[in-house]
C-alpha cells in the first residue's frame, strides 16, 4: 500500500513548515550546549501535528498512513535536523497499536494526546561493548535513541515474552548518555515486570516488537538520507562558488568524479527507499527495512565524510554547518546497530538462498 501523492505532498509541506519553526542548524547548536536537553514545547508541537498516529489505524485514532508517508516525513525532519524523538514515538505507537490490549490502547491514547511521552526501548541481537551500567540480574535490555525525555519506557522481556512498562522514577533502570549530535544513546534494563506494569505478552507481542523495529529501520534510513541530501547540496553549492588557483574548484575532475559517485550513491539509495517503503505490507517487510537501513547508513556516512573534505579547513570548523550534518549522520547510523549489524539481520531473512537447493 502506498499513499496518494496529494497526501504525501501535504505531509511534506507540514514537515517543512515544522522545520522552519523547530528545526535548523541554529536550534541544534543551542541544544548541544545543554546535555540531554528535552524541549517539551517542541514535543507538544509534534503531538499537535498528529504524526505519532501516522501509521496507527484510523479505528485507533491514528492517520492510518503507510511507510511512504513515514519516509516523506522523516526525510524532511532529517534534513531539518529536528531532534525531537518523532521516529521513536511513531514506532512506539505502531507497537502499542498492534499489541491491541486494553493497557496498550490506554498508553497509545496517552502518547498520541501528549499526556505522557512513552517510548519503546527495542531489543535487537546487537553486540556492544559493556560500558553502560546493567541493572543486576536484568532479564531484559532494550535500546532507545534520542529518548531521554520519556516519561515511561516500554520494554520487551525475552524470557517471559512480555512487554511491560518501566517508569522513569525508577531511574537506575535507564541509562542515557548525551550523543555527539545533541541527541542521546539510551540503554534500558529491567528485572521482572510488576503485574500492574504488564502491557502484553505472547507471540503476538513478539511480532509487534519486530514490526516496531522494522519501522525504526526504514524510518532512520529516511532520516539518514534527508540529512545526507542536505549535506550533499551544501557541498555542491560550495564546489560552484569556491575559487582556488583562479578557478572554481568544482571544475577539477578529481572532485567532479567524487561528486558524481556521491550522486550515484544518493540517487540509488533514494530510489531504494521508495521501493522498500512499498514493500512494508508484503512478505519481505523485515528484509527490506533492514536492507534499506544498512544501505542508507553507508551512503549517508560516505556523503557527510566527503562533504567535510570538499569544504577544506572550514569543513572541520565548528562554526560551519557541515559538522552538524556529519555528527547527526554518524549518530543516526548507529541507531539500533550499525550498517553491518543491520546487514546481519537482513542476512537472517535471506540465508535460505545459500543453504537450500531450488526445487
Amino acid at each position: 500500500m502506498t499513499d496518494d501523492n496529494e497526501t504525501l505532498g501535504l505531509i511534506g509541506d507540514a514537515a517543512r513548515s515544522f522545520v522552519r519553526q523547530w528545526g535548523g542548524p541554529a536550534r541544534v547548536r543551542g541544544r548541544l550546549d545543554r546535555s540531554l536537553a528535552f524541549d517539551r514545547e517542541e514535543w507538544n508541537a509534534v503531538v499537535e501535528q498528529g504524526w505519532l498516529g501516522l501509521m496507527v489505524p484510523e479505528e485507533k485514532g491514528g492517520l492510518g498512513l503507510s511507510a511512504s508517508a513515514l519516509t516523506v516525513l522523516l526525510e524532511q525532519l532529517g534534513d531539518g535536523l529536528v531532534m525531537s524523538p518523532v521516529l521513536p514515538g511513531i514506532a512506539t505507537a505502531v507497537l502499542l497499536a498492534s499489541l491491541d490490549t486494553a493497557p496498550a490502547d490506554a498508553l497509545l491514547s496517552d502518547l498520541m494526546s501528549g499526556k505522557s511521552l512513552i517510548l519503546a526501548a527495542l531489543p535487537g541481537d546487537i553486540e556492544a561493548p559493556t560500558l553502560l551500567p546493567d541493572a543486576a540480574g536484568a532479564s531484559q535490555r532494550g535500546w532507545l535513541h534520542d529518548g531521554h525525555g520519556a516519561d515511561a519506557i516500554l520494554l520487551w522481556d525475552e524470557e517471559t515474552k512480555q512487554v511491560g512498562l518501566v517508569h522513569r522514577d525508577s531511574q537506575e533502570q535507564a541509562t542515557f548518555r548525551a550523543a555527539i549530535d545533541g541527541g542521546s544513546v539510551g540503554m534500558v534494563t529491567s528485572r521482572r515486570f510488576e503485574v500492574r506494569d504488564l502491557v502484553a505478552s505472547g507471540p503476538a507481542a513478539l511480532q509487534a516488537v519486530a514490526d516496531a523495529r522494522d519501522i525504526i529501520g526504514i524510518g532512520s534510513a529516511a532520516m539518514l538520507l534527508g540529512c545526507a541530501r542536505r549535506a550533499l547540496d551544501i557541498s555542491l553549492a560550495y564546489l560552484k562558488t569556491r575559487q582556488q588557483f583562479g578557478v572554481l574548484i568544482g571544475s577539477f575532475q578529481a572532485l567532479q568524479h567524487r561528486a558524481a559517485s556521491l550522486h550515484v550513491a544518493m540517487a540509488s539509495s533514494q530510489s531504494f527507499l521508495v521501493e522498500t517503503s512499498a514493500c512494508i505490507d508484503g512478505p519481505n517487510r523485515a528484509a527490506a527495512c533492514a536492507a534499506v537501513r544498512a544501505r542508507s547508513a553507508d551512503c549517508a556516512l560516505q556523503i557527510v565524510k566527503e562533504a567535510v573534505q570538499f569544504h577544506g579547513a572550514i569543513g572541520f570548523a565548528d562554526e560551519h554547518d557541515a559538522g552538524l550534518y556529519f555528527r547527526r549522520v554518524v549518530a543516526l547510523a548507529s541507531w539500533h546497530g550499525n550498517a553491518a549489524q543491520w546487514r546481519g539481520e537482513y542476512f537472517s531473512h535471506i540465508a535460505w538462498a545459500f543453504t537450500h537447493t531450488y526445487a
Binding site: 568544482g250 568524479h257 540517487a267 528484509a287 527490506a288 537482513y346 545459500f354 537450500h356
Partner: protein
C-alpha cells in the same frame, strides 16, 4: 525482487519458470561463456517463438510490451536457471533505434530478422583513435552514385566476426564541430572489402573483433536519417540504451553464481563473509529497485534520470563478482569451471569478463563526467 508480486505477476513467474525448465537444453545451463551462434541461437529462437525474446519492444514490432516488473521477473528466472548469454546488439541497440528512427523499408527488413534470430548485429562505433572521444572517428564514407564507399577501421566490435550486419558511424564530411559530418549506416557484413579479426580478451574469450573496410560499397538506402545527422541519430536512443545497460540482468547472473558457489561448494560462512554476501544481495536489490523506478518513471512519462544507472549496474556486478572471488579463497584462480555432481560452478570466468563492463558503452569515467556537468551542473 523485494517488491510484493500481484497474483498476475506470480502467475507469470510460474509460467516462465516452468517453460524454461521444459525448454532450456541442460548442456547450456550455467555456461561460463557466451555460447557460439551454432549452440546459442537455437535458444534465442525458442525464446522468440515463445514471444519473450524482446520484452521491452512494443507488441506491434514483435516485442512483448512487458512491464518493467515482468522484465525483472524474466531476468531473475533466466539467471536462476542459468540460461546462456544471448547477443543483444540487435535487441537492445539497433532494434529500438530503427523502431524510433528507421524508415518503413528499414524496419520491415531488419526488425523481424532480429526478433526471429535470423540476423546477428554488431556495433561499429569505436576506432583505434576514437574510444571515449568517439566523435573523433575517421572511417570515411564517400558518396558515389547511389552508394557510399567506406574505407577505414573499427575496433572493439562485440561479436563482429559472428555478425551478419553492422550499424556504424562513418565520416561523410567535416563541420564546425567534430560531431558534424557523421552518418549512421547499416552495413551487410558479407559485402566485399570487409575483413574481421577476432580480439582475444584477458578472459580468454574472443568477444570482440577488429573490422577493416576497403572500398566497401553500401547502398545509400542503408543510411538511417540524413547524411551528416549520424551523431543525433546515435544519441537519440541514449536514454533507452542506458536503461538497458543499467538493467539488473547481468548482476542477477553474477549473484546466482555466488549463491551456487556458496551452496554447492559448502563455503563456510564466517561473519566477514556473511557481511560481504549480504552487501552483494542488497546491492542487487538496490539496482533492481533503481531499474524499476527509472523504467516505470519513463513509462509514465516523467523522464526519470537514468544517467547513474550504467555506473550502478556495472559496478554492482563487479562488486558481486569480487565477493565471489573472495568466497573462492585459495581456489579463486582455478582456470576452468569446477563441478559438484552435475552442477557447473564458475570461479572466475565471469569475474574476468566483467572487467569490460565499466569500460564499454561509455566508461565509468566518461559517465561520471557527464553526471558532474549535466546532472550536477559543475563547471566545465
Amino acid at each position: 525482487m523485494l517488491r510484493s508480486e500481484t497474483p498476475e505477476q506470480r502467475e507469470f513467474r510460474a509460467d516462465v519458470r516452468e517453460w524454461i525448465a521444459g525448454n532450456l537444453n541442460p548442456a547450456l545451463r550455467f555456461l561460463t561463456f557466451r555460447p557460439l551462434p551454432t549452440d546459442g541461437m537455437p535458444w534465442y529462437r525458442k525464446l522468440s517463438e515463445r514471444g519473450w525474446i524482446a520484452p521491452h519492444w512494443p507488441v506491434d514490432f514483435g516485442g512483448m510490451g512487458a512491464t518493467p516488473v515482468q522484465q525483472v521477473i524474466l531476468w531473475e528466472e533466466l539467471a536462476r536457471a542459468g540460461a546462456p548469454d544471448i547477443p543483444t546488439q540487435g535487441l537492445n541497440h539497433i532494434g529500438p533505434l530503427l523502431i524510433k528512427l528507421g524508415n518503413a523499408e528499414q524496419r520491415s527488413r531488419h526488425l523481424p530478422a532480429i526478433i526471429h534470430g535470423d540476423a546477428i548485429w554488431c556495433q561499429g562505433y569505436s576506432e583505434p583513435g576514437a574510444g571515449s572521444d568517439l566523435a573523433s572517428l575517421r572511417t570515411r564514407a564517400e558518396i558515389s552514385g547511389d552508394d557510399l564507399i567506406i574505407n577505414g577501421q573499427k575496433i572493439w566490435t562485440t561479436w563482429g566476426h559472428h555478425a551478419d550486419w553492422m550499424f556504424a558511424l562513418v565520416r561523410t564530411g567535416r563541420g564546425a564541430s567534430k560531431r558534424d559530418g557523421i552518418t549512421f549506416v547499416l552495413i551487410d557484413m558479407t559485402t566485399p572489402g570487409i575483413t574481421c579479426r577476432p580480439i582475444r580478451t584477458l578472459a580468454f574469450d574472443e568477444e570482440f573483433s577488429e573490422v577493416f573496410f576497403e572500398d566497401v560499397r553500401v547502398p545509400l538506402a542503408n543510411v538511417v536519417g540524413e547524411i551528416g545527422s549520424g551523431w543525433s541519430i546515435a544519441t537519440a536512443v541514449l536514454d533507452q540504451e542506458r536503461l538497458l545497460l543499467g538493467s539488473p540482468a547481468i548482476a542477477l547472473r553474477a549473484l546466482e553464481r555466488l549463491r551456487r558457489l556458496v551452496r554447492f561448494g559448502k563455503v563456510p560462512l564466517d561473519r566477514r563473509l556473511v557481511d560481504l554476501i549480504a552487501r552483494a544481495e542488497i546491492e542487487v536489490d538496490v539496482l533492481t529497485a533503481c531499474f524499476l523506478n527509472v523504467a516505470e518513471g519513463e513509462a509514465g512519462g516523467s523522464g526519470a534520470d537514468a544517467s547513474y544507472l550504467k555506473i550502478l549496474a556495472t559496478e554492482t556486478t563487479q562488486f558481486v563478482l569480487d565477493v565471489l572471488q573472495d568466497a573462492a579463497g585459495p581456489l579463486a584462480a582455478i582456470r576452468s569451471a569446477q563441478h559438484v555432481g552435475q552442477e557447473r560452478l564458475d570461479l572466475n570466468e565471469m569475474f574476468l569478463q566483467s572487467r569490460r563492463l565499466t569500460i564499454y558503452g561509455g566508461s565509468s569515467e566518461i559517465q561520471r563526467t557527464i553526471i558532474a556537468n549535466r546532472t550536477l551542473g559543475l563547471p566545465r
